[in-house]
């Protein structure tokens, strides 16, 4: 029995370790945190940002695996949704595929000054696609 418990704990721990390392590697590759520190000029606080990520992951994992009910006001959902969206937006924008496409397209059709409009096409596309999905598409 004890061996079974120890083994289960070991397997769970090993799985968590691999997923956690993978998550951090993912964030590192996309350079989202350096980008945010660059924007806000808070390079010195980077250690605290690491902790924010670690604590966020632990909280999310725990809430996701348990069935705790916090019974908070609905208004809390709005900032959470917004933060969720901004973070996902940073990830989406950071994907190198997206970054590599712009220089090419802008050179091909000769609109290097208007590249901002192309970015806005992607940004509005993401917003529209997302809204369309949540409001209409999920009901079909």
């Amino acid at each position: 029995m004890t061996i079974k418990i120890i083994f289960t704990v070991f397997v769970g721990f090993a799985g968590g370790l691999a997923v956690g390392a993978g998550f951090v590697a993912f964030l590192t590759v996309l350079k989202v945190i350096p980008r945010l520190t660059q924007l806000t000029k808070t390079m010195k606080m980077i250690q605290h940002y690491e902790w924010a990520i670690v604590l966020g992951v632990i909280t999310g994992a725990w809430l996701g695996l348990q069935n705790n009910i916090l019974s908070l006001n609905k208004a809390f959902l709005v900032p959470i949704g917004l933060a969720d969206g901004i973070f996902n937006g940073l990830l989406a924008a950071a994907l190198t595929e997206v970054l590599n496409v712009f220089p090419l397209i802008s050179k091909r059709i000769g609109i290097q000054e208007k590249i901002v409009y192309l970015i806005m096409a992607i940004v509005f596309g993401k917003i529209a696609g997302s809204l369309f999905q949540w409001i209409y598409f999920v009901d079909i």
Partner: protein, 206 residues
């Protein structure tokens, strides 16, 4: 020592078609002022319509030209060893139909890919569960999370590309500008290697 001339070739210069390119257009010379003045005015080449829009002048061509002028000159080269001359024909007009087509392509593509992504990671289920955890109630369409989420998505992308805050926050280039630079750098590297007569030698000189 009096005949020493330092030469630094520029990396990339733009010229008009039919322009006469002199040494001073593509390189910076330092040395005895009289000598340098004379050399700078030397005609290197004339851009003709047959030329492609990229001409590469290698350092050895420049050295040859200078030595032809005055064989006593000692040349000391610093910096890049070739110059990319970009021939600018009349300014290319933006083709609006093409631009609009690309815009729509990007818009629709971005919209569909984000929907695919949401389905891929079961975003709907996660939002429903989040709604339950926080409020304690069930909701199959937790729009209170999802609408702020959607706008946050756009905001996050703009934040990453940083063209709202560029002036206010800092002078550092945005990731996109770095990417544009890298792309141009790669193209330059390619033409330097492939269009430069001095750096390729094929069998039989063909």
């Amino acid at each position: 020592m009096d005949n020493l001339v330092y030469v630094r070739m520029r990396h990339r210069v733009q010229v008009r078609s039919n322009q006469i390119v002199k040494i001073k257009d593509i390189a910076k010379l330092l040395g005895q002022p009289v000598l340098v003045k004379e050399l700078e005015e030397t005609v290197l080449l004339k851009v003709t319509n047959e030329d492609n829009n990229i001409i590469i002048v290698d350092l050895v061509q420049l050295v040859k030209e200078i030595l032809d002028q005055n064989a006593d000159i000692e040349i000391q080269a610093i910096g890049p060893s070739q110059t990319i001359i970009e021939v600018v024909y009349e300014k290319k007009k933006v083709s609006w139909p093409l631009f609009i087509a690309v815009w729509i392509l990007l818009f629709v593509g971005a919209a569909i890919t984000i929907m695919n992504f949401h389905v891929d990671v079961s975003m709907q289920t996660v939002h429903q569960k989040l709604f339950k955890i926080i409020t304690g109630k069930e909701d199959s369409k937790p729009l209170l999370i999802q609408i702020p989420y959607s706008f946050g998505l756009g905001l996050g992308m703009i934040l990453f590309f940083n063209h709202f805050f560029r002036k206010r926050f800092n002078e550092e280039p945005s990731p996109l500008e770095v990417e544009m630079f890298n792309y141009q750098q790669d193209l330059d590297q390619y033409v330097i290697m492939n269009e430069n007569k001095e750096s390729i030698k094929k069998i039989d000189d063909n």
